[in-house]
Symmetry: C2
């Protein structure tokens, strides 16, 4: 179906989802923008690993990105794949030079349990991270090093924030991501799996990351950008680890610290 | 001197410098914003390691950030330290919730030579990096790991771009940064110092970063975010190194790759 009006209900739904976390949660839907990112999502949908609610593209984008977007879907699956007017695209686009390709996708719901985790796996846990760019970068890095999964407590910024999804650059579709209510429940499940939990801290007394044995199942917890992991949560972990360096350690941002730790976790493989 | 007007020449100079690279280069001046960042700059100025052209602060900021900004300087050094009207501050502020503290600083000019480099030092070279956020993050990480210096070829984005300075969070004042015209000249100076140069590449045939001997003087070159280092420049380096991983290596962004390499360079210390 061709969409010419900004008042089309699907267009209204898209803009609502793009700006409101509440709306995303109520509908269990999220939005994506960009030819490559949407192409990856469509790929996952073809593998039946992602639900897609709606796809929107301008005719210009279909002509410009044939390697990313299969235009035949817009006729064969026209209830889901919509060509939209340039003006409608302007309303949907969040970045200045929007590519004119958009998706409404369905949130997937990975349940954290001793059956869904690999007991010898390598996991990263995000606890109270607030910057969407950091969360996205950490997802990318987990994907890059081949981590077995990412666990996010829901005091973090929203996984489906458009900015997070942009920074994550499709890693979300390749990773096992678990969003959980409560950190203590996360620790209980990890304990059940014999996965050792480490709190990443800035503390000279903690174990050095490069002297840590990662040969078994392990989960490292990264905390808030400014305040780190709160004491009660550190106490729930089996141990504490730190990155020991000679420089001005305060200069290491949360995503970079996570990256160095992930690198150390995986180099032992 | 109290500044009430947006038409004050110093205010006009600030806004020009904030938006124009050309103006920064012509005047050899740059701008900074934020209480903590300006406080670090003033600290360096007191140590006579940074020139300061002008400091601007609202009265509100002086009251709010006494731990950062010494208000006595605004009377004792009133030719340089100016209290500005809130409206003037609004004109200067680049971020939404500006803190009301601003500096015009003088660029320093570190000359790259066999006398200014430590022959057993650890250096990072940025070649054609275009994202100010990445450059800032890499500066922060060099500071965190205690690298001996950073060399930037001037095909990179501007070191004094306000966004770079914000991401670098004061690391610029703690690091030896050399900005150079030409990559081949950089390689010549490094060679003269017997500092071994490695091109960081995405190539399975290159030497693994964690199997590399960093016990001598070494400089690692990081290239453009999308295209890496161009062939001719790789050929100028002594050797090539890479980060070998099982995951989707393409997901590693330039700043994260630099961070992992810096970590490996410094862990041998």
């Amino acid at each position: 179906m061709y969409i010419a009006s900004k008042d089309n209900p699907k267009i209204k739904l898209y803009t609502k989802l793009a700006t409101s976390k509440k709306s995303r949660e109520e509908n269990a839907l999220f939005v994506l923008e960009g030819a490559r990112l949407c192409s990856e999502a469509i790929g996952r949908w073809k593998e039946k690993k992602l639900d897609i609610h709606s796809v929107f593209s301008t005719q210009k984008a279909l002509d410009k990105y044939p390697e990313y977007i299969d235009s035949t879907l817009f006729t064969s699956r026209s209830e889901t794949f919509h060509i939209v007017d340039e003006k409608v695209s302007e309303k949907l686009g969040e970045t200045k030079n929007s590519q004119g390709v958009y998706i409404i996708g369905g949130m997937s719901n990975n349940i954290l349990s001793d059956e869904t985790l690999k007991h010898d796996g390598k996991y990263l846990v995000m606890n109270n991270l607030q910057d969407p760019g950091n969360v996205g970068t950490i997802l990318r890095t987990c994907d890059a090093v081949g981590a077995d999964g990412v666990i996010m407590t829901n005091n973090c910024c929203d996984l489906y924030n458009p900015k997070t999804l942009r920074s994550a650059m499709g890693s979300l579709f390749r990773l096992n991501v678990f969003v959980c209510d409560d950190f203590s429940e996360v620790c209980e499940v990890l304990k059940k799996c014999n996965i050792k939990t480490y709190a990443a801290v800035v503390d000279r007394d903690a174990q050095a990351v490069d002297k840590t044995d990662f040969s078994h199942g392990v989960a490292v917890v990264i905390g808030n950008e400014g305040r780190g992991i709160q004491k009660e949560d550190v106490a729930l972990c089996d141990s504490r680890l730190t990155i020991k360096m000679q420089g001005n350690i305060e200069s290491l941002n949360a995503a970079m610290a996570a990256g160095i730790i992930l690198w150390e976790m995986k180099r032992s493989d």
